[in-house]
Symmetry: C3
Subunit: 457 residues, 3 copies
């Protein structure tokens, strides 16, 4: 009888739809296909974890900034996914991985008819799913750095440009088989290609949009603008931490014997970064700081993203520990030079992204069985060659993003679409840009706003 | 030595428990079994993603309603899972998939002894896990629409009736092999069977329980009752978005080559819905609305749930875009006819569920290799036949749910268990129904309540 | 052309890194390897779900305690992961699973070169990943019970001791092949080994640190100290619920035919616990309590953690239902004997952990095909032998943890590092210990604090 239940369940679908698994009838499943399906299933779930990171970015940025901008931050992260996915499907994916055609509508037509490849690689749609999630992540990094004073119209322009053009071009250089990959540059999951791209774009955005009102006093000294909600901000850190286990292990692009090692390297770097940033902040401020510790975990994760494949466990922890120290001093540095980055995105993604990439040139372990001898870093017998390649990549991406994102934000500014008016900034972007309050008057009585919240009337 | 560690680890379990994986000894694994295990493992994780959606529903509804009802909303969603799972195990699952017996205790007894089937289909428990998560989702949809004024006792009755009876009967019509599936109706993952069922039940609940006090002024015009927390509400959207990658791809009920395509269709529809609702709200209200954009993502997802298998990528995006437009106007429509749905559940799940089902009749692409020619929609050479079948299904489910859920809510009302007193509604359901405050007096000073919070004294 | 895109994508990685999947070339994939990879991939994702539980623990504890300590709670949970992972890598893992060496640096060196084993068992790094996530969970349980009055320095000492020593020793007794496993004790996923260890350590911490100021009045009676945020607390419950599907099914340590059954048992116990605690609290307090219901779900989950393999579906629901009743009365009991456990951690993890372990001795179903006859519980024809073994294990772990954790907390107290000053407790740990406010003055105006929030200046 139980089998009847199952049969009914399966049968019902079989009636209405072709049953594709019929191709795998009892004794004619080729073993190749099972491994291929396993690879694709693995990357599918990895992509889901990376998509979940959008929630983490949203909460981190929303929590570390003001309550009056919370709806705006959530909105931007939803739109990073929405706009980013559509543009990456039509434009960015083709720039990144074909290099021959800029715009490619055709793959979305006719049901991806030639999608399943036969050589154990990924099917086209699952590859797109994974890569689109990365593109959205790169764009999302910027939102936190320019939080609290950027027009929504300007935001739409820059996020579109990053997912459709800036990020795909850089990806094409390496993962698309371009000049960086031919040079011998190594960036396993994107310390430079994803995080630094986002981080340096955030840098240019923060510079060109300028600091929030009141961030730097008349004396030029930075003043604390406390985030409004450490609970959701650190929940964001936890979600990003979890999502990173899709980001890094998934970048192996196959379910194979290397995945567990990559995952442990990721874990050790996150742990090292968290502990190191906690201690560093304790020494600097006399007390262990919560959001620095959270950013330390993220800094550790960014620091191992390039080397999760190439480093062994110890050096992964060391890379993460140094990342935790670096992110702390970087945050203080950018504040000192009066660049206002409310969530530390430039430090976490830009600076640690560069550090993580350089760390491969120092720590890649060519003595380990999984690397070529020629792929060793400076401290593991490989000489300076890999390190130099890594530095070339870091600098090239920095220069490209600074120029393109700089031009982008400058152009948006010239169009008068970059910064909101001082009145709107003080009133908060939720009311000014969206006509809503993020927290109702029953929750924060002082936030009763003109316009109310239309979303769920 | 490392192997010794592993051996110790595995051995320890082997000592105390039978090791079932011993069945898979070195050279006698049948290949069929590996694919079968992969199928079941895939559906297991897909079910976990769908279960996670309960958190998304809870946060969305809690965030878009008043702070004084936040504990009540979280409670209802926890109980949708708890009550729903138990009733679906004993009653609903049998109505849905056997059709012969209403109540089936026996499958839970004796360790599901005949659970593993041998024809590459799912094992009974994983099928139950996945289907139970769907049942809980269908019931949960209602809670948001009747938020803020419904008795907890009445809630228990209706959620039990939906998971034990209304939802399973509809599922039996299609996935259980009933008359809709014989007709040729197509609903891949449940735009109609899950979402419209929840949405139309929400419609009847909202009508019969009536609007919240103060929602419609003496002039009959709707007034904004802002949600209290856009941060958790939009986190709910992100969680639902992520969970949908279990909902749709998992509905393939096998780890096969179609899964990635289904996932990308889901992603494109979500993105299209988000962008379209943002733009629509921008045009309507002069500003891009946050919660409309979030509901647009959800509307896009519901709109592709029926067609994730049958549409190609372009048409998936189009279905989602139209879903994002539809959900916006539907929310305004229900408000205009004075039906108070605080979270937009009727529009997102009921209306977009109907739209997504109809979209299959329009856009199903019989030219693609994965569909029969006979399964094409109107715009892809299939004529009106499929469209008519889809309309029959949409109408039939609408009529059935309106009648059964209408009778259900009417009966609860007659028992005096549907609506709380005006005093309780104004005081908030947390205090009135649960004797707690959702937010402590240190967080919202105005919420000091009689009774305090007993939960964690 | 699409293949070219894929080839470019894969090729780019192939250029820079050895492609390990090359080992799986077309016709020479041994079937054993596919099942092995599937096992390891399954445990990888299960470990990710368990790591996600850290977010659940953090939110639950933060939400059920005061707003002035929210940053401290998030910090502790981030550090449980960070400190815990590093210490478990270097010390704890070796105590737990080798028993021969206390400290083992070497496995992290040289890329885990001998990691892949060939007998269908787990690879070393994925085993570590899964076990490390468990160790962090055990330590995290304590933080909620001593919330609001514990020094951060004292916290670091105790969490380090638990992950490096107390938890690993207990694990060695059973999963490491020690005396409990030889005795015939059964604890599938750790009702005793993980949850009771955390729960009894929490008990000793709560006793030795003493109750929060104001928890017990001059008359000795308990007074309610409401948690500040039921929304994030119950989100924590949902996340823990979802993570448990990594915790229990993953403990099978293989992707096999038993996993779905274990998952359904877990689901039924959670549902039973939630319903039972709701009803019990309704009877006791005249109203159904929200956080009791949440703790009931968790109590149900802990109650099936030992028996998820050995019980059938019915008895899993029964174990969970009884767990939901037990947790409710246990919370009231500890309050009555004036032990202040703000989140109910001792009841959920300690008491239900013991109950779940004993339940195996009562309900293990030796008539089912998956168990030996000799493994039956008292009510299923196995006599008292298994029950006695279970009781021995429960008592032994209780005694060991009470002594070691008692000495630990007592020692920390003697060092003057356990409890904060009354001034600091009243001011809140966020300001006193971390120099930040968890919620900004724009969110909770009364929380303007000396020092401000440095984290994201």
């Amino acid at each position: 009888m139980k089998k009847a239940i199952i049969a009914g369940s399966i049968g019902a679908l079989g009636v209405t739809l072709l049953n594709p698994s019929a191709a795998f009838a009892a004794d004619d499943i080729p073993l190749d296909d099972v491994q291929m399906i396993l690879d694709n299933t693995f990357i599918f779930f990895a992509a889901v974890l990376v998509l979940f990171m959008q929630a983490g970015f949203a909460l981190l940025a929303a929590g570390l900034t003001a309550a009056k901008n919370v709806g705006n931050m959530m909105m931007k992260n939803m739109m990073d996914m929405s706009i980013g996915v559509l543009l990456f499907a039509i434009v960015g994916y083709h720039i990144a991985y074909s290099g021959s055609s800029i715009i490619g509508f055709s793959w979305l037509w006719g049901g991806y008819s030639d999608a399943p490849t036969t050589d154990y690689s990924l099917m086209l749609p699952v590859d797109f799913l994974f890569q689109a999630a990365f593109a959205a992540a790169a764009a999302t990094i910027v939102a936190g750095a320019v939080a609290g004073r950027t027009q929504f119209k300007g935001y739409i322009i820059y996020t579109a440009a990053i997912t459709a053009f800036i990020y795909p071009v850089v990806v094409n250089w390496q993962w698309g088989g371009g000049w960086l990959s031919e040079l011998g540059f190594q960036d396993f999951a994107g310390s430079t290609l994803v995080h630094s791209v986002g981080g340096w774009a955030a840098l240019m955005g923060a510079i060109i949009v300028g600091p929030r009102i009141g961030k730097f006093g008349p004396d030029g000294k930075a003043r604390a603008i406390p985030g409004h909600n450490i609970a959701i901000a650190m929940l964001g850190v936890f979600i990003l931490f979890v999502g990173w286990f899709g980001f890094n292990p998934g970048s192996q692009l196959a379910a194979d014997v290397e995945v567990p090692r990559i995952a442990v390297n990721t874990l050790l770097a996150a742990a090292g970064g968290g502990v190191a940033a906690m201690i560093t902040s304790w020494i600097k401020f006399k007390k262990p700081d919560v959001s620095f510790a959270g950013n330390g975990i993220l800094g550790g994760l960014v620091s191992i993203t390039a080397g999760a494949y190439a480093l062994d466990g110890y050096m992964s922890a060391v890379a993460g520990i140094l990342g935790g120290v670096i992110v702390t001093f970087a945050v203080l540095f950018f504040e000192k030079i009066r660049i206002d980055d409310p969530v530390g995105a430039i430090s976490v993604h830009g600076v640690c992204g560069a550090w993580g990439t350089i760390a491969v040139g120092l720590f890649a372990n060519g003595n380990a069985p999984f690397l070529d001898e020629g792929s060793s870093g400076l401290f593991f017998g490989g000489g300076a060659e890999l390190l130099i390649n890594q530095l070339i990549g870091v600098v090239a991406v920095f220069v490209f993003v600074v120029i393109t994102a700089g031009a982008l934000f400058y152009g948006i500014k010239k169009l008068g679409l970059l910064r909101v008016s001082p009145e709107d900034e003080l009133a908060g972007l939720d009311v000014a840009e969206h006509g809503v309050v993020g927290y109702g008057p029953d929750f924060i009585p002082s936030m009763v706003a003109a316009g109310g919240q239309k979303g769920a009337e």
